[in-house]
Amino acid sequence: MDNSLFPTVPVFLDRSSLDQSWGFRLQGGIDYRLPLSIKKVSPNTPSHNKLYAGDGVTAIDGQDASSMKHEDAENLLRNALQIQLAVRRGQFAAVRPSRPPVKFGASSQPHVNSALQNTTTPNNYRRF
């Protein structure tokens, strides 16, 4: 994946005590064969408006997170009052369809609407 599309953002979090939760769900780790990422963020927590669902975590307190185990990342985060993260914003955000799909009947002509091929003009695109 072309990482340049997702700018790296520094995120600083702090909390008053170890009992207060950071307010986000961490997903992945090298042992799960998934990149570390933010699954969801709860409102009114230290992470609110700082982290977003779909952020890819690239570093935790200056340590490269790309080959970190889930448990290691978890322990770093659990035992800190302040934490400096580097995330790639929106790297793993889910993409969903926003329009109804085009029907491709078996009988439809093999020709393609040029708008489909030429994605530079998505607004011209219509059902056929």
């Binding site: 939760s21 986000f24 769900r25 799960y32 064969r33 889930h70 993409v95 369809p97 109804p100 695109y125």
Partner: protein, 912 residues
């Protein structure tokens, strides 16, 4: 204000207070009217004393069943609620909500305030309550019972609203549904229907058949039935005894309120069990998927290791190009290789195909169950296996080429060595003793005639010597070729060749020396008998020609084609054409001998030995006879070889004819498969059937391949290397055949996966066809996969708003990473389907699983091994216990487990 009563919010009509004042409060005295959810509590009328007694006992027990959770109880219902404190506590327990802090004082107005707090709370739950706090504080039994009934109705019964009916009707309907399968039970109301106790027993048996044997109960023993139900409920369901068996049985019509209260406790007890069962089954589902997936991963790793290990074993053997320099050894190797191609490799090839399909199936399953994708251990990726396999096939190709080349080399060597030995033998036979002769000083005692004869004889020898030059050069050339071909025992050859050449050089030297010696002596030599001389002149070259001819006639040949043998036959025929001249020459020579004999006879002389030559006429005669005999022999040898080449040609044709049938058949199958994969007509099951039919017909075609293999073996055994009658080689056929198999297997697995997806996702065949049509539309190359550009267009067509800017690129990159996790650069139909059918709601699997565990553990933040063992099947409970971490929270108990972390970990997540 003559009465208090409650009524539900839903009632629209005359304000109840007004109705009460108007005395309309007694209009519905029938307690059988279940369609009316509300009822009235008449202050003035006298409550049936029996009913009052029943209510007092039942309501007290009901209150205590809740108060015991906070470690308290009541004994006398009209007294213990007077100060309002236990009343507030009761409300807190049953509502699970906090009430305002009670007043601490003991004065009457403190009590009234506390009771009012309780009454306010009840009112806040949407119940209109017409009871004064004073009446409770004063210990009015009738009013207190009325208030408690209101609480029971609101908190224990009203929530049981089956299909939006009134509370009472809902509870009745629940009883009817649960008891309908039981004989002798017909629940129509909450008094007489429960009188014989069978209804209670049926309710228990329906939910916990382990607790009683319903078939042994009879209508005729109501007291036992009632007591049995009450005992079991108390002992096993934790429902205190609230009713008195004898009173229920004896009264003509019991108070329905007490029965409702008691039955509602059953309802709550069983609904908890039901919830736990649902939770357990949800956990089981999730765990089973995980266990199965783990098994599949292990199976994949095992198969992959197996296959890679086999390839690792085979490769060195295929890469080993060491020769033992024997034909037999090399032939044996070729046999071993054939066995490898036919019996060892095919099962491994299907193992490889199985590995690929297993892998795809597993990935599909993982995606369908929202689990992380499976990446095999380092070195066991599909790509690694494909690479290893390619390496194997490369080594295999080189190996066969090398083996055949080696065979040819060894054959040629064998031939050359024999030729070399043969020529050397002839030459050595000739040269034997020549040196001694050349060195002899015979001429010194010779007469003049003899001397001249010696001189002439030497002349003859010189021409003989010159004639042998050719053969010596041939021998040296053969030795040279043997050197080039790397003959194993070249040293012996070289030694012999060297010795021969040295001898040859020495012969040359000696000949020159003797010639000069003889030339010196020649001055005294007289002219010798011209007849002898003429004989000598003719005999020597003729003898030499005879030697050469004999040599040619027994010369061995080494050829591969019909053309070559025809060439040899032609050469032989030309040779035969010269035999007439040779015969004439023979006769001339013989005439010379005859003439000489005749002359000596004529002159009465003993014929002296011919001084000019030691070639006897007998020798020439025998050689000539031998040559003549050899000619037909040679004819026969050539004909035999011709026949052999013809047979080889037949083998070629046999193979070619078969290959020309088998090859196109396989090609047609490939085309058919290609058509099938491009367009799916009919249902997936029909499609699968078509593919399986093809698979069957391919399996039935197998004997043709075997037959072809047999012909191929024949060809190889006959050392036939080219075949211009067919474009197909066995190797090409084998590859096409194996590809056909592999692709068929893969297609079938893909269709099965699609069917599995269809079932799992619950999408219709029609939807599936739409996805397929969309995919096919953009699959311009008909390769059954989309490149990123095609895929992007396809996504846009499917409604994804992927813009033509950086954001769109980013979105698309993410999707690509999702559908093509191994970066092949292409999107298969399976992963496309997978992506399109992935649940859009993205339901949070972790939260669902956590909730299920929470239900099992009765809302505790931890779970114990005991609960797990009770609620889950043994192996799944064991699986959980092995993997769960101890619960570390302060509120935990010893041996409790952390199910929350466990649930998150199953999906690779954790809440921080």
């Amino acid at each position: 204000m003559s009465a208090y009563f409650y009524e539900s919010n839903e009632q629209n009509g005359m304000p109840s207070k007004q109705r009460a004042v108007n005395g309309g409060h007694s209009q519905r005295s029938s307690v059988d009217d279940y369609m009316m959810p509300e009822e009235e509590w008449e202050r003035e009328s006298v409550l049936d004393p029996a009913w009052e007694r029943q209510q007092k006992k039942t309501f007290t027990a009901w209150c205590n069943s809740h108060l015991r959770k906070v470690g308290t109880s009541i004994e006398n219902i009209e007294e213990d609620f007077q100060n309002g404190l236990k009343l507030m506590l009761l409300l807190e327990v049953i509502s699970n909500e906090q009430l305002p802090k009670p007043d601490r004082g003991r004065m009457r107005f403190h009590k009234i305030a506390n009771v009012n707090k309780a009454l306010d709370f009840i009112t806040s739950k949407g119940v209109k309550l017409m009871v004064g706090a004073e009446e409770i504080v004063d210990g009015n039994l009738k009013m207190t019972l009325g208030m408690i009934w209101t609480i029971i109705l609101r908190f224990a019964i009203q929530d049981i609203s089956v299909e939006e009916m009134s509370a009472k009707e809902g509870l009745l309907l629940w009883c009817q549904r649960k008891t309908s399968p039981y004989k002798n039970v017909n629940v129509q109301n909450f008094h007489t229907s429960f009188k014989d106790g069978l209804a209670f027993c049926a309710l228990i048996h329906r939910h916990r058949p382990d607790l009683l044997d319903y078939s042994k109960l009879t209508k005729d023993d109501p007291l036992s039935n009632l007591n049995l139900a009450f005992d079991i409920a108390e002992k096993h369901l934790d429902i205190p005894k609230m009713l008195d068996a004898e009173e229920i049985n004896n009264s003509i019509k019991s108070d329905e309120k007490v029965v409702m209260t008691y039955v509602s406790s059953y309802y709550h007890a069983f609904s908890t069990t039901q919830k736990a069962e649902q939770a357990a089954s949800r956990i089981c589902k999730v765990l089973t998927i995980n266990q199965e997936n783990e098994q599949m991963m292990e199976e994949y790793e095992r198969l992959a290791s197996d296959l890679l290990e086999w390839i690792k074993q085979k490769r060195p053997w295929l890469e080993n190009r060491a020769t033992d320099n024997t034909l037999d050894g090399t032939q044996a190797k070729l046999g071993e290789f054939r066995d490898y191609c036919r019996s060892q490799k095919p099962p491994k090839l299907s193992q490889k195909a199985k590995l690929e399909t297993d892998f795809n199936t597993l990935q599909t399953r993982l995606r369908l169950s929202n689990r992380p994708a499976f990446t095999p251990n380092e070195g066991k990726l599909l790509a690694d296996i494909v690479d290893a396999w390619k390496g194997l096939e490369l080594a295999e190709k080189g190996f066969e080429d090398w083996l055949l080349k080696e065979l040819r080399r060894l054959e040629r060597l064998d031939h050359l060595v024999k030729k070399f030995q043969h020529k050397c033998d002839i030459h050595e036979e000739w040269s034997n003793g020549k040196i001694d002769l050349l060195k002899s000083a015979d001429f010194k005692q010779c007469s003049l005639n003899d001397l001249r004869a010696l001189s002439r004889k030497h002349l003859a020898f010189e021409s003989d010597l010159a004639a042998h030059q050719d053969r010596v050069e041939q021998i040296a050339a053969i030795a040279q070729e043997l050197n080039v071909l790397g003959y194993e025992k070249i040293q012996a050859i070289n030694q012999r060749c060297q010795k021969l050449c040295n001898e040859w050089d020495e012969l040359g030297d000696l000949t020159q020396k003797r010639r000069s010696t003889l030339t010196e002596a020649e001055k005294i030599v007289e002219r010798i008998d011209s007849l002898f001389l003429e004989y000598a002149k003719k005999a020597a070259p003729y003898s030499n020609w005879l030697d050469g001819a004999r040599e040619d006639l027994i010369d061995m040949f080494f050829i591969h084609t019909l053309d070559e043998i025809c060439g040899l036959i032609e050469a032989h025929n030309q040779f035969k054409a010269t035999l007439g001249d040779a015969d004439a020459e023979y006769k001339t020579i013989m005439r010379l001998v005859d003439d000489a004999q005749q002359t000596s006879k004529d002159n009465n002389l003993d014929l002296p030995p011919n001084p000019y030559t030691n070639i006897q006429s007998e020798e020439i005669k025998s050689k000539w006879n031998e040559v003549q005999a050899l000619v037909p022999q040679r004819d026969q040898d050539l004909q035999t070889e011709y026949a052999k080449q013809q047979q080889n040609e037949r083998f070629r044709l046999q193979f070619a004819q078969k290959a020309n049938v088998v090859g196109p058949w396989i090609e047609r199958q490939h085309e058919l498969l290609q058509q099938l994969t491009v367009q799916v007509v009919g249902t997936l099951e029909q499609h699968q059937k078509k593919l399986e039919t093809m698979e069957t017909s391919a399996a039935q075609y197998r004997p043709h391949i075997d037959e072809l293999e047999k012909y191929n073996q024949q060809i190889q055994e006959c050392m036939i290397f080219e075949n211009r009658h067919t474009p197909y080689t066995m190797e090409v056929i084998r590859v096409a055949w194996e590809q056909l198999h592999t692709q068929l297997t893969r297609q079938i697995a893909e269709v099965k996966n699609q069917i599995y997806t269809l079932e799992k996702k619950g999408i219709s065949e029609e939807q599936m066809n739409e996805f397929r049509a969309a995919f096919a539309h953009f699959d311009k190359s008909r390769s059954r996969r989309l490149d990123p550009k095609e895929f992007r267009s396809c996504l846009i067509a499917c409604g994804y708003n992927i813009r033509e800017d950086r954001q769109g690129d980013a979105d698309f990159q993410r999707i690509m990473a999702n559908v093509d996790p191994t970066h092949t650069g292409f999107v298969t139909f399976e992963s496309f389907l997978d992506f399109m059918t992935r649940e859009c709601s993205e339901e949070d699997s972790v939260d669902q699983l956590t909730l299920a565990f929470k239900t099992l553990s009765a809302d505790k933040p931890y779970i114990t091994a005991e609960v797990l063992k009770r609620e889950l099947p043994p192996d799944q409970a064991h699986w959980c216990i092995q993997r769960m971490k101890p619960y570390t929270g302060a509120d935990g108990v010893p041996g409790s487990y952390d199910y929350k972390t466990f649930s998150s970990a199953l999906y690779g997540e954790s809440d921080l």
